[in-house]
């Protein structure tokens, strides 16, 4: 059994032992799926296959990919206008480092996935929206795009059909909010990356007012093998009700931080203990953010849960990007919360009031508490702000909602720590070195 059968995303890289470019990619069956889709399947068959596979978006929200594609009006637009396919390669969620790896190591699988997606929705223009800081991934992707163009996998009349695709890289000017898909579209249009209201949803009116699909890098990378090996095969890869594999990652005080492609539904404990090599000596795991900075803390009682969308949601958090950040016992939960809120306050786009004004207030309160200036009542202010800012719909987009997830769970699980800071007028962790 080839490692591609169990590791569709990383198997080739493992075999090659480094970044996979065209020769290696083709040698291991690259672009077979795209050829199959474009020459043997109708767009709606492709969409159905992806729907059947139960592939869910890997950008964090977990929306079913095939269903999203199905929202695009099929066939050529009545007004002859273009449709767009966009890859969200913004990856600025703290603690998340999977898309950088995928683009750098397996760029052709991204290109092929986008090719299939574009064919499915009838897009003739595609953009990879890439983080501005991702210089190395950009160089590798650019090389792969050139290779694909030269080999006839991008351009006009692909695989002898009348399907054309122009794929380009757009480097971001740098803002976390650019990862929010409608803000991303504004950024692509050269505007301030404020999120847009939905409706209109991008599949109806997206980039330049045209039907547009936005998916995450990892999402697209899953597509070629689904088309090649079929939805059933893909579904069976998952251990729980979710389908396929997932790139899980761990950062923090473990022995081997890193990324691993594992069947979706692998337990948290297995990921940390077996793949990340367990905690470093002298450090004890107190809690973790399961899928990036914008997910709720999980604690001891959750460590045996399966990392899939439903299970983690039931535990009060989100699988998010599947890359977990560990909080060991040397870390002050108040200070870590302050660090997180600093990020979110600073990355607020400034459009809506609760996020723009509420998050900096939270940050400043957390700093006060951390530095011993906390006052009775501060936790109530934090609770109230968390409640008002965190409910989806209270703010214009989900940035602020995401910001509140780690805060409200920290206030829940580590409340004693917050209270001690206020009562003692200092941070009890400061002596531990990490101040």
């Amino acid at each position: 059994m080839s490692s591609l059968d169990t590791k569709p995303l990383t198997g080739r890289v493992e075999e090659v032992g480094g970044p996979v470019f065209l020769a290696d990619y083709e040698a291991s069956g690259g672009y077979v799926a795209a050829r199959k889709a474009i020459t043997q399947m109708t767009p709606s068959e492709v969409i159905d296959e992806v729907k059947d596979s139960n592939l869910r978006g890997r950008g964090g929200a977990g929306f079913p990919t095939g269903t999203k594609w199905g929202f695009v009006p099929p066939g050529p637009s009545p007004d002859g206008g273009v449709k767009y396919l966009v890859c969200n390669g913004d990856e600025m969620e703290p603690g998340t480092f999977k898309d950088r790896w995928l683009i750098s190591n397996n760029p052709h699988s991204l290109i092929e996935g986008m090719l299939i997606g574009a064919y499915a929705i009838g897009a003739t223009k595609a953009y990879v929206f890439l983080r501005g800081e991702y210089f190395e991934p950009k160089a590798k992707l650019a090389k792969a795009i050139d290779e694909a163009k030269a080999a006839g996998y991008l351009g006009d009349g692909l695989f002898g059909s009348d399907f054309d695709l122009d794929l380009r890289i757009h480097s971001s000017g740098g803002r976390y909010i650019c990862g929010e898909e409608t803000a991303l579209l504004n950024a692509l249009e050269g505007k301030r990356a404020q999120p847009r209201n939905k409706p209109p949803f991008p599949p109806a009116s997206g980039a330049w007012g045209r039907p547009t699909i936005v998916n995450n890098v990892e999402t697209y990378c899953n597509v070629p093998s689904i088309i090649e090996k079929g939805a059933d095969w893909y579904r069976d890869l998952g251990l729980t009700e979710d389908a396929g594999t997932k790139i899980y990652g761990v950062s923090g005080r473990v022995n081997q931080p890193g990324l691993w492609e594992l069947p979706i539904g692998t337990t948290i404990r297995e990921i940390i203990d077996e793949h990340a090599g367990g905690m470093q000596d002298g450090y004890h795991l107190r809690g973790l953010l399961p899928g990036g900075a914008s997910t709720d803390f999980l604690v001891e009682e959750h460590f045996d849960l399966a990392m899939d969308y439903g299970t983690i949601q039931a535990a009060g958090s989100r699988m998010g990007t599947g890359t977990m950040i560990l909080m060991d016992d040397s870390i002050c939960p108040v200070d870590m919360s302050r660090n997180l809120q600093h990020f979110f306050a600073q990355e607020s786009c400034g459009f809506c009031t609760p996020c723009r004004e509420g998050l900096p207030w939270i940050e400043s309160l957390l700093l006060d508490i951390e530095e011993g200036r906390g006052q009775p009542g501060d936790l109530e202010i934090l609770d109230q702000n968390a409640q008002y800012i965190g409910a989806p719909g209270n703010t214009f987009c989900l940035h602020a909602t995401g910001a509140i997830e780690p805060l409200q769970s920290a206030l829940k699980y580590f409340r004693d720590d917050f209270e001690r800071h206020i009562v003692e007028g200092k941070c009890p962790y400061r002596t531990n070195g990490n101040a």
């Binding site: 898309d99 971001s172 923090g252 931080p257």
Partner: protein
């Protein structure tokens, strides 16, 4: 005096690059960010003069383009040193001791975040998660990602950037 000050607000070379971006876009204004980044690539930052020149070139008002320029973290509206050190201050690096490292870095360079060394060699800026969290703490100098940074490695790391 830097070279950029001697050349006009927009060089022919920059114009060619910007026009090439525009040719792939549905309208000229959509090239706003690309154009700013192109100019910055050549000059290190975007001056008021360049900003107006770009606005003119892409058919946007200067006020609107400045609205774009001031929105994005990677577009500098003030001069920076020859090298920009961007040190990650996000949570994974924080967990791995980035706050302490940040202080070491400031001490080593003798400047605070947001400042440039007197010899204009380095500008020190905070940056959000660089997407290399398994190798925390991280930083980026110009286009180079530097992983597993520690205070004792700083001299060796800086050597390359004169």
């Amino acid at each position: 005096m830097s070279e950029a000050e001697l050349i006009p607000a927009l060089s022919p070379e920059e114009v060619v690059e910007i026009e090439s971006e525009i040719s792939h876009l549905p309208d000229r204004q959509s090239a706003a960010i690309d154009a700013l980044m192109i100019v910055q690539k050549h000059r290190g930052w975007v001056s008021d003069e360049s900003l107006s020149a770009i606005a003119n070139l892409i058919g946007m008002s200067t006020a609107e383009l400045d609205g774009v320029a001031t929105f994005y973290n990677l577009i500098y509206r003030q001069p920076v040193g020859r090298h920009v050190i961007s040190m990650c201050d996000s949570v994974s690096c924080y967990v791995m001791g980035a706050d302490g490292l940040a202080k070491d870095l400031e001490a080593k360079l003798g400047i605070r975040f947001g400042e440039t060394t007197p010899d204009e060699r380095f500008t020190l800026l905070p940056i959000v998660c660089l997407g290399a969290c398994d190798k925390a703490p991280t930083m980026q100098i110009d286009e180079d990602l530097i992983e597993s940074v520690s205070a004792d490695r700083l001299d060796e790391i800086f050597e390359k950037y004169t």
